[in-house]
Amino acid sequence: MTATYRPEFEAALRTFARASAIMVAQGFEAPILVGGAAVEIFTASAVATGDLDVVTARQERFEAALRELGFVKPSGPGMSTRGWIHAELQLSFEVVSTELLDGLADRDRVVTLDFGADGRVRIISVEDMIADRMGQFASGTAPEMRKQARAMLVLHSDVDRAYLADRVIEETAGGYRIEDIETDRV
């Protein structure tokens, strides 16, 4: 990798790569990164996060891999979370779903980043990530998501426009189109 990302974020991705490699070595499909960490990837760390959301059908295997890497599940009074943290790395993971955007995202478009000896990480496609942000924006509960979608589109002029156009309509229940994002100011 190059200096595209914050050093702390690259370290987080390398940790995810190692957890993924453990799963693959056991014969399971590697998990897929989604959410804010995917936005950080697709904006070259223009937005930062240390909390990584993951999609996998084998949650128990992924969490076993995290334990192997020193992660613990936070516990204590009033502490109820499905996530795992590593205090030294100041990093957390949470399995948020067994399906990629409720099965609407095209798994064949998943992106792979190679981290050499640490392994590889799989990430939801930028098109599906843009559509996801527009869907959250359209829900009325996350107005900031539209700017995230716009930033990713600006930085990825090579997107599959036809697929993205369909996905934006799908995620927003027809409320928005790709042209709405294209005409936004950066």
């Binding site: 223009a46 100041q90 957390s92 949470e94 959250q136 509960t141 996350a142 930085l155």
Partner: protein, 39 residues
């Protein structure tokens, strides 16, 4: 992407406001914050 970012200049990318966070996520971020994590 780095070249494209440099060409575009400053891009306003807002952080997640957190309005859609689940209870699990709120608890996780609280625990993570207690490690001193800042980003």
């Amino acid at each position: 992407m780095a070249r494209r970012k440099a060409a575009v200049g400053d891009i306003d990318v807002p952080r997640n406001a957190g309005n859609r966070r689940t209870e699990s996520k709120r608890a996780l971020l609280k625990a993570l914050g207690e490690t001193g994590a800042r980003w």
